[in-house]
Protein backbone atom coordinates (compact mmCIF):
# COMPACT_ATOMS: atom_id res chain seq x y z
CA UNK A 1 0.00 0.00 0.00
CA UNK A 2 1.40 3.42 -0.87
CA UNK A 3 2.29 5.48 2.21
CA UNK A 4 -0.30 8.09 1.25
CA UNK A 5 -3.10 5.60 1.81
CA UNK A 6 -2.14 5.27 5.45
CA UNK A 7 -1.92 8.98 6.13
CA UNK A 8 -4.64 10.35 8.38
CA UNK A 9 -5.78 13.92 8.38
CA UNK A 10 -5.51 15.68 11.69
CA UNK A 11 -8.00 18.47 11.13
CA UNK A 12 -11.54 18.00 12.45
CA UNK A 13 -14.28 16.94 10.10
CA UNK A 14 -16.31 19.79 8.64
CA UNK A 15 -20.00 19.75 9.37
CA UNK A 16 -22.18 18.11 6.82
CA UNK A 17 -24.20 20.33 4.58
CA UNK A 18 -27.81 19.21 4.98
CA UNK A 19 -28.90 20.29 1.53
CA UNK A 20 -26.25 18.41 -0.38
CA UNK A 21 -25.46 15.47 1.87
CA UNK A 22 -26.95 12.06 2.00
CA UNK A 23 -26.53 9.32 4.49
CA UNK A 24 -25.99 8.42 8.06
CA UNK A 25 -23.28 6.58 9.84
CA UNK A 26 -23.07 2.89 9.19
CA UNK A 27 -20.91 -0.09 8.63
CA UNK A 28 -19.22 -0.73 5.32
CA UNK A 29 -20.20 -4.09 3.95
CA UNK A 30 -18.69 -4.59 0.52
CA UNK A 31 -18.35 -8.30 -0.15
CA UNK A 32 -18.65 -7.92 -3.93
CA UNK A 33 -14.99 -8.18 -4.89
CA UNK A 34 -14.49 -11.06 -2.53
CA UNK A 35 -17.52 -12.84 -3.94
CA UNK A 36 -16.30 -12.57 -7.51
CA UNK A 37 -12.86 -13.79 -6.57
CA UNK A 38 -14.44 -16.65 -4.64
CA UNK A 39 -16.64 -17.61 -7.58
CA UNK A 40 -13.62 -17.50 -9.90
CA UNK A 41 -11.66 -19.82 -7.62
CA UNK A 42 -14.62 -22.15 -7.06
CA UNK A 43 -15.13 -22.55 -10.78
CA UNK A 44 -11.45 -23.30 -11.21
CA UNK A 45 -11.74 -26.00 -8.56
CA UNK A 46 -14.84 -27.47 -10.20
CA UNK A 47 -13.11 -27.70 -13.58
CA UNK A 48 -10.94 -30.77 -12.87
CA UNK A 49 -13.74 -32.44 -10.90
CA UNK A 50 -16.16 -32.19 -13.80
CA UNK A 51 -13.77 -32.78 -16.68
CA UNK A 52 -11.63 -35.55 -15.23
CA UNK A 53 -14.61 -37.47 -13.87
CA UNK A 54 -16.10 -37.39 -17.34
CA UNK A 55 -12.84 -38.59 -18.84
CA UNK A 56 -12.61 -41.50 -16.42
CA UNK A 57 -16.25 -42.44 -17.03
CA UNK A 58 -16.05 -42.50 -20.81
CA UNK A 59 -12.95 -44.67 -20.55
CA UNK A 60 -14.89 -47.41 -18.76
CA UNK A 61 -17.19 -50.03 -20.25
CA UNK A 62 -20.81 -48.95 -20.13
CA UNK A 63 -21.70 -51.75 -17.73
CA UNK A 64 -18.92 -50.97 -15.31
CA UNK A 65 -20.29 -50.62 -11.79
CA UNK A 66 -18.44 -47.32 -11.34
CA UNK A 67 -20.16 -45.57 -14.24
CA UNK A 68 -23.35 -44.60 -12.33
CA UNK A 69 -21.25 -43.34 -9.44
CA UNK A 70 -19.07 -41.25 -11.71
CA UNK A 71 -22.17 -39.90 -13.44
CA UNK A 72 -23.48 -38.89 -10.05
CA UNK A 73 -20.27 -36.92 -9.41
CA UNK A 74 -20.70 -35.17 -12.76
CA UNK A 75 -24.34 -34.31 -12.14
CA UNK A 76 -23.55 -33.04 -8.67
CA UNK A 77 -20.73 -30.91 -10.05
CA UNK A 78 -23.04 -29.45 -12.68
CA UNK A 79 -25.51 -28.54 -9.95
CA UNK A 80 -22.66 -26.94 -8.02
CA UNK A 81 -21.70 -24.99 -11.15
CA UNK A 82 -25.23 -23.69 -11.53
CA UNK A 83 -25.33 -22.77 -7.86
CA UNK A 84 -22.04 -20.88 -8.11
CA UNK A 85 -23.22 -19.04 -11.20
CA UNK A 86 -26.35 -17.95 -9.40
CA UNK A 87 -24.16 -16.18 -6.87
CA UNK A 88 -23.07 -13.84 -9.64
CA UNK A 89 -26.56 -13.17 -10.90
CA UNK A 90 -29.33 -11.22 -9.35
CA UNK A 91 -33.02 -11.82 -9.05
CA UNK A 92 -34.10 -14.72 -11.21
CA UNK A 93 -30.65 -15.22 -12.63
CA UNK A 94 -31.65 -14.05 -16.07
CA UNK A 95 -28.94 -12.74 -18.40
CA UNK A 96 -28.23 -9.07 -18.83
CA UNK A 97 -30.98 -7.09 -20.50
CA UNK A 98 -30.15 -3.92 -22.36
CA UNK A 99 -32.86 -1.32 -22.44
CA UNK A 100 -33.32 2.41 -22.05
CA UNK A 101 -31.90 3.46 -18.70
CA UNK A 102 -32.34 6.81 -17.02
CA UNK A 103 -29.02 7.12 -15.20
CA UNK A 104 -30.21 10.14 -13.21
CA UNK A 105 -33.09 8.12 -11.80
CA UNK A 106 -30.77 5.21 -11.11
CA UNK A 107 -28.43 7.51 -9.20
CA UNK A 108 -31.21 9.08 -7.19
CA UNK A 109 -32.39 5.65 -6.15
CA UNK A 110 -28.91 4.33 -5.42
CA UNK A 111 -27.21 7.16 -3.58
CA UNK A 112 -29.22 7.12 -0.34
CA UNK A 113 -28.40 3.45 0.26
CA UNK A 114 -24.76 4.01 -0.68
CA UNK A 115 -24.53 6.96 1.66
CA UNK A 116 -26.07 4.96 4.47
CA UNK A 117 -23.33 2.38 4.21
CA UNK A 118 -20.50 4.90 4.38
CA UNK A 119 -18.61 5.87 7.52
CA UNK A 120 -19.96 8.98 9.19
CA UNK A 121 -16.65 10.76 8.52
CA UNK A 122 -17.30 10.63 4.80
CA UNK A 123 -19.68 13.09 3.19
CA UNK A 124 -21.46 12.16 -0.01
CA UNK A 125 -22.54 15.08 -2.15
CA UNK A 126 -24.14 15.00 -5.55
CA UNK A 127 -25.30 17.04 -8.49
CA UNK A 128 -27.57 15.20 -10.86
CA UNK A 129 -28.62 17.00 -14.02
CA UNK A 130 -31.38 15.72 -16.26
CA UNK A 131 -29.69 13.62 -18.91
CA UNK A 132 -30.67 11.63 -21.98
CA UNK A 133 -31.41 7.96 -21.55
CA UNK A 134 -28.66 5.51 -22.34
CA UNK A 135 -29.00 2.02 -23.76
CA UNK A 136 -27.67 -0.41 -21.21
CA UNK A 137 -28.07 -2.80 -18.33
CA UNK A 138 -29.34 -1.07 -15.22
CA UNK A 139 -27.88 -3.71 -12.90
CA UNK A 140 -24.43 -3.38 -14.41
CA UNK A 141 -24.57 0.40 -14.35
CA UNK A 142 -25.55 0.20 -10.71
CA UNK A 143 -22.49 -1.97 -10.19
CA UNK A 144 -20.36 0.77 -11.74
CA UNK A 145 -21.73 3.31 -9.28
CA UNK A 146 -21.30 0.89 -6.39
CA UNK A 147 -17.74 -0.06 -7.26
CA UNK A 148 -16.61 3.52 -7.86
CA UNK A 149 -18.06 4.80 -4.60
CA UNK A 150 -16.65 1.81 -2.74
CA UNK A 151 -13.26 2.56 -4.25
CA UNK A 152 -13.63 6.17 -3.15
CA UNK A 153 -14.48 5.11 0.40
CA UNK A 154 -11.37 2.95 0.50
CA UNK A 155 -9.24 5.79 -0.91
CA UNK A 156 -10.41 8.11 1.87
CA UNK A 157 -9.88 5.43 4.51
CA UNK A 158 -10.43 6.25 8.15
CA UNK A 159 -10.12 10.00 7.72
CA UNK A 160 -12.61 12.75 6.94
CA UNK A 161 -13.40 13.17 3.31
CA UNK A 162 -15.91 13.89 0.61
CA UNK A 163 -17.19 11.85 -2.26
CA UNK A 164 -18.79 13.85 -5.06
CA UNK A 165 -21.05 12.24 -7.62
CA UNK A 166 -22.27 14.20 -10.60
CA UNK A 167 -24.18 13.47 -13.76
CA UNK A 168 -24.31 15.76 -16.75
CA UNK A 169 -24.68 15.83 -20.51
CA UNK A 170 -21.76 16.45 -22.82
CA UNK A 171 -23.26 17.77 -26.02
CA UNK A 172 -21.57 16.60 -29.18
CA UNK A 173 -20.95 19.71 -31.25
CA UNK A 174 -18.99 18.22 -34.11
CA UNK A 175 -21.27 15.79 -35.84
CA UNK A 176 -24.50 13.93 -35.72
CA UNK A 177 -23.04 11.64 -33.09
CA UNK A 178 -25.02 11.13 -29.96
CA UNK A 179 -24.59 13.24 -26.87
CA UNK A 180 -22.65 11.67 -24.07
CA UNK A 181 -23.83 11.22 -20.50
CA UNK A 182 -20.98 11.94 -18.12
CA UNK A 183 -20.83 10.30 -14.72
CA UNK A 184 -18.17 11.61 -12.37
CA UNK A 185 -17.18 10.11 -9.05
CA UNK A 186 -14.53 12.13 -7.25
CA UNK A 187 -13.02 11.73 -3.83
CA UNK A 188 -10.73 13.64 -1.54
CA UNK A 189 -8.76 10.53 -0.66
CA UNK A 190 -5.11 9.73 -0.95
CA UNK A 191 -4.95 9.91 -4.72
CA UNK A 192 -2.40 7.97 -6.72
CA UNK A 193 0.74 8.39 -8.73
CA UNK A 194 0.95 7.83 -12.48
CA UNK A 195 2.31 4.31 -12.12
CA UNK A 196 -0.65 3.30 -9.99
CA UNK A 197 -3.12 5.14 -12.20
CA UNK A 198 -1.95 3.23 -15.25
CA UNK A 199 -2.58 -0.10 -13.53
CA UNK A 200 -5.79 0.39 -11.61
CA UNK A 201 -8.00 -1.28 -14.22
CA UNK A 202 -5.83 -4.37 -14.41
CA UNK A 203 -7.34 -7.49 -12.83
CA UNK A 204 -6.06 -8.25 -9.34
CA UNK A 205 -4.18 -4.99 -9.04
CA UNK A 206 -4.81 -3.46 -5.64
CA UNK A 207 -3.20 -0.98 -3.32
CA UNK A 208 -5.15 -2.38 -0.41
CA UNK A 209 -3.84 -4.71 2.23
CA UNK A 210 -4.37 -8.43 1.57
CA UNK A 211 -7.90 -9.42 2.49
CA UNK A 212 -9.35 -6.00 1.69
CA UNK A 213 -10.40 -6.57 -1.86
CA UNK A 214 -9.44 -8.84 -4.71
CA UNK A 215 -8.43 -6.00 -7.01
CA UNK A 216 -11.09 -6.54 -9.65
CA UNK A 217 -13.60 -3.84 -8.70
CA UNK A 218 -12.26 -1.27 -11.14
CA UNK A 219 -11.66 -3.98 -13.73
CA UNK A 220 -15.35 -4.72 -13.56
CA UNK A 221 -16.10 -1.01 -13.92
CA UNK A 222 -13.94 -0.58 -17.00
CA UNK A 223 -15.35 -3.74 -18.54
CA UNK A 224 -18.94 -2.68 -18.01
CA UNK A 225 -18.18 0.77 -19.40
CA UNK A 226 -16.57 -0.81 -22.46
CA UNK A 227 -19.56 -3.07 -23.05
CA UNK A 228 -21.72 0.04 -23.01
CA UNK A 229 -19.49 1.61 -25.68
CA UNK A 230 -18.34 4.18 -23.16
CA UNK A 231 -15.01 5.45 -21.98
CA UNK A 232 -13.43 6.00 -18.59
CA UNK A 233 -10.54 8.17 -17.49
CA UNK A 234 -8.91 8.93 -14.19
CA UNK A 235 -7.46 12.18 -13.01
CA UNK A 236 -5.43 11.94 -9.84
CA UNK A 237 -2.33 13.02 -8.02
CA UNK A 238 -0.88 11.72 -4.78
CA UNK A 239 -2.55 13.47 -1.88
CA UNK A 240 -5.08 15.24 -4.08
CA UNK A 241 -7.82 12.68 -4.44
CA UNK A 242 -9.06 11.03 -7.57
CA UNK A 243 -11.67 11.82 -10.19
CA UNK A 244 -13.19 9.07 -12.34
CA UNK A 245 -14.99 10.36 -15.43
CA UNK A 246 -17.18 8.02 -17.42
CA UNK A 247 -18.78 8.98 -20.72
CA UNK A 248 -21.62 6.82 -21.97
CA UNK A 249 -23.34 7.40 -25.31
CA UNK A 250 -26.93 8.47 -25.05
CA UNK A 251 -29.65 6.40 -26.62
CA UNK A 252 -30.88 9.45 -28.52
CA UNK A 253 -31.03 13.20 -28.58
CA UNK A 254 -34.15 13.62 -26.50
CA UNK A 255 -33.62 14.75 -22.93
CA UNK A 256 -35.43 13.10 -20.08
CA UNK A 257 -37.27 15.47 -17.77
CA UNK A 258 -35.64 16.01 -14.41
CA UNK A 259 -36.64 13.71 -11.62
CA UNK A 260 -37.72 15.69 -8.61
Amino acid sequence: MPPALNRRRVQPCPQRSPDKTLGVSGEIVRPENFVHALVHDLNNLLTPILSLTELVRIGLPHDDASVPLLSMIEQTTLRARNLVQRILTTGDGSPNVYKSVDLSELLRKSLPALAASMPSMIRLQHRIDPTPAIFGDADELHRVILNLTTNAVHAIGQQCGTISVSLSTETNQNSTDRDMVRLVVADTGSGMDDATRRRIFQPFFSTKEPGHGAGIGLTIVSTIVATHSGSIRVISQPGKGARFEIDLPSAGKRRIPSVT
Binding site: H36, V39, T47
Partner: protein
Amino acid sequence: MTNRALVIDDSPDVCLVVETLLGRLGYKTTSASDGVEGLRLFSQLRPALVITDLFMPHGDGIETIKEIRRHDRHVPIIAMSGAATTMNFLQIALKLGADAAIAKPFSLKELSDTIARSTPQAVG
Protein backbone atom coordinates in the same frame (compact mmCIF):
# COMPACT_ATOMS: atom_id res chain seq x y z
CA MET B 1 -0.49 -27.59 -40.35
CA THR B 2 0.51 -28.10 -36.73
CA ASN B 3 -2.05 -29.47 -34.30
CA ARG B 4 -0.40 -27.90 -31.32
CA ALA B 5 -2.57 -26.02 -28.86
CA LEU B 6 -1.39 -23.49 -26.33
CA VAL B 7 -3.20 -23.37 -22.98
CA ILE B 8 -2.75 -20.29 -20.79
CA ASP B 9 -4.05 -20.36 -17.23
CA ASP B 10 -2.54 -19.49 -13.87
CA SER B 11 -4.09 -22.60 -12.34
CA PRO B 12 -1.86 -25.66 -12.94
CA ASP B 13 -4.87 -27.90 -12.36
CA VAL B 14 -6.89 -26.16 -15.05
CA CYS B 15 -3.93 -26.34 -17.45
CA LEU B 16 -3.59 -30.05 -16.78
CA VAL B 17 -7.29 -30.65 -17.33
CA VAL B 18 -7.52 -28.63 -20.52
CA GLU B 19 -4.36 -30.24 -21.87
CA THR B 20 -5.81 -33.66 -21.07
CA LEU B 21 -9.07 -32.84 -22.83
CA LEU B 22 -7.23 -31.43 -25.82
CA GLY B 23 -5.10 -34.56 -25.93
CA ARG B 24 -8.28 -36.59 -26.28
CA LEU B 25 -9.24 -34.36 -29.17
CA GLY B 26 -5.96 -35.00 -30.94
CA TYR B 27 -3.97 -31.94 -30.02
CA LYS B 28 -0.40 -31.74 -28.82
CA THR B 29 -0.37 -29.23 -26.01
CA THR B 30 1.85 -26.72 -24.28
CA SER B 31 0.79 -24.65 -21.30
CA ALA B 32 1.76 -21.30 -19.84
CA SER B 33 0.99 -20.00 -16.38
CA ASP B 34 0.46 -16.37 -17.37
CA GLY B 35 0.00 -14.12 -20.36
CA VAL B 36 3.64 -13.11 -20.56
CA GLU B 37 4.82 -16.69 -20.80
CA GLY B 38 1.91 -17.43 -23.11
CA LEU B 39 2.96 -14.75 -25.57
CA ARG B 40 6.52 -16.00 -25.52
CA LEU B 41 5.40 -19.55 -26.25
CA PHE B 42 3.00 -18.35 -28.91
CA SER B 43 5.82 -16.62 -30.79
CA GLN B 44 8.04 -19.65 -30.39
CA LEU B 45 5.57 -22.43 -31.23
CA ARG B 46 2.98 -20.79 -33.48
CA PRO B 47 0.20 -23.09 -32.23
CA ALA B 48 -2.93 -23.89 -34.22
CA LEU B 49 -5.17 -23.06 -31.27
CA VAL B 50 -4.92 -20.85 -28.18
CA ILE B 51 -7.09 -21.31 -25.12
CA THR B 52 -6.51 -18.64 -22.51
CA ASP B 53 -7.94 -17.71 -19.16
CA LEU B 54 -9.04 -14.09 -18.77
CA PHE B 55 -8.29 -13.52 -15.09
CA MET B 56 -4.62 -13.97 -14.31
CA PRO B 57 -2.43 -12.08 -11.87
CA HIS B 58 0.39 -11.54 -14.36
CA GLY B 59 -0.31 -10.76 -17.98
CA ASP B 60 -4.09 -11.03 -18.04
CA GLY B 61 -5.92 -12.81 -20.81
CA ILE B 62 -7.48 -9.69 -22.28
CA GLU B 63 -4.09 -8.18 -23.04
CA THR B 64 -2.86 -11.55 -24.21
CA ILE B 65 -5.69 -11.85 -26.72
CA LYS B 66 -5.11 -8.33 -27.98
CA GLU B 67 -1.39 -8.94 -28.37
CA ILE B 68 -1.82 -12.25 -30.19
CA ARG B 69 -4.34 -10.64 -32.53
CA ARG B 70 -1.86 -7.90 -33.32
CA HIS B 71 0.50 -10.53 -34.70
CA ASP B 72 -1.85 -13.21 -35.97
CA ARG B 73 -5.32 -12.46 -37.27
CA HIS B 74 -6.23 -16.06 -38.01
CA VAL B 75 -5.20 -18.35 -35.17
CA PRO B 76 -8.33 -19.50 -33.30
CA ILE B 77 -8.47 -18.13 -29.78
CA ILE B 78 -10.84 -19.41 -27.12
CA ALA B 79 -11.26 -17.35 -23.98
CA MET B 80 -12.24 -19.06 -20.76
CA SER B 81 -13.15 -17.65 -17.40
CA GLY B 82 -14.31 -18.81 -14.04
CA ALA B 83 -16.09 -15.57 -13.27
CA ALA B 84 -17.82 -14.79 -16.52
CA THR B 85 -21.45 -15.19 -15.68
CA THR B 86 -22.57 -11.64 -15.27
CA MET B 87 -19.54 -9.52 -15.96
CA ASN B 88 -19.44 -9.75 -19.72
CA PHE B 89 -15.76 -10.61 -19.74
CA LEU B 90 -16.44 -13.25 -22.31
CA GLN B 91 -18.23 -10.76 -24.53
CA ILE B 92 -15.29 -8.43 -24.12
CA ALA B 93 -12.95 -11.22 -25.14
CA LEU B 94 -14.98 -11.77 -28.29
CA LYS B 95 -14.84 -8.07 -29.08
CA LEU B 96 -11.09 -8.08 -28.62
CA GLY B 97 -10.61 -10.87 -31.09
CA ALA B 98 -11.32 -14.21 -29.47
CA ASP B 99 -13.24 -16.61 -31.68
CA ALA B 100 -15.18 -18.30 -28.92
CA ALA B 101 -15.59 -18.26 -25.19
CA ILE B 102 -16.28 -20.87 -22.57
CA ALA B 103 -17.08 -20.60 -18.90
CA LYS B 104 -15.34 -22.82 -16.39
CA PRO B 105 -16.06 -25.52 -15.41
CA PHE B 106 -16.82 -27.29 -18.67
CA SER B 107 -17.20 -30.82 -19.92
CA LEU B 108 -15.25 -32.49 -22.70
CA LYS B 109 -18.24 -32.13 -25.01
CA GLU B 110 -18.62 -28.42 -24.21
CA LEU B 111 -14.94 -27.86 -24.94
CA SER B 112 -15.13 -29.95 -28.08
CA ASP B 113 -18.18 -28.03 -29.32
CA THR B 114 -16.49 -24.72 -28.56
CA ILE B 115 -13.37 -25.72 -30.47
CA ALA B 116 -15.50 -26.87 -33.37
CA ARG B 117 -17.21 -23.47 -33.50
CA SER B 118 -13.92 -21.62 -33.53
CA THR B 119 -11.90 -23.97 -35.73
CA PRO B 120 -13.76 -25.44 -38.71
CA GLN B 121 -10.79 -27.69 -39.42
CA ALA B 122 -10.29 -28.67 -35.82
CA VAL B 123 -8.29 -31.75 -35.11
CA GLY B 124 -10.52 -34.57 -33.84
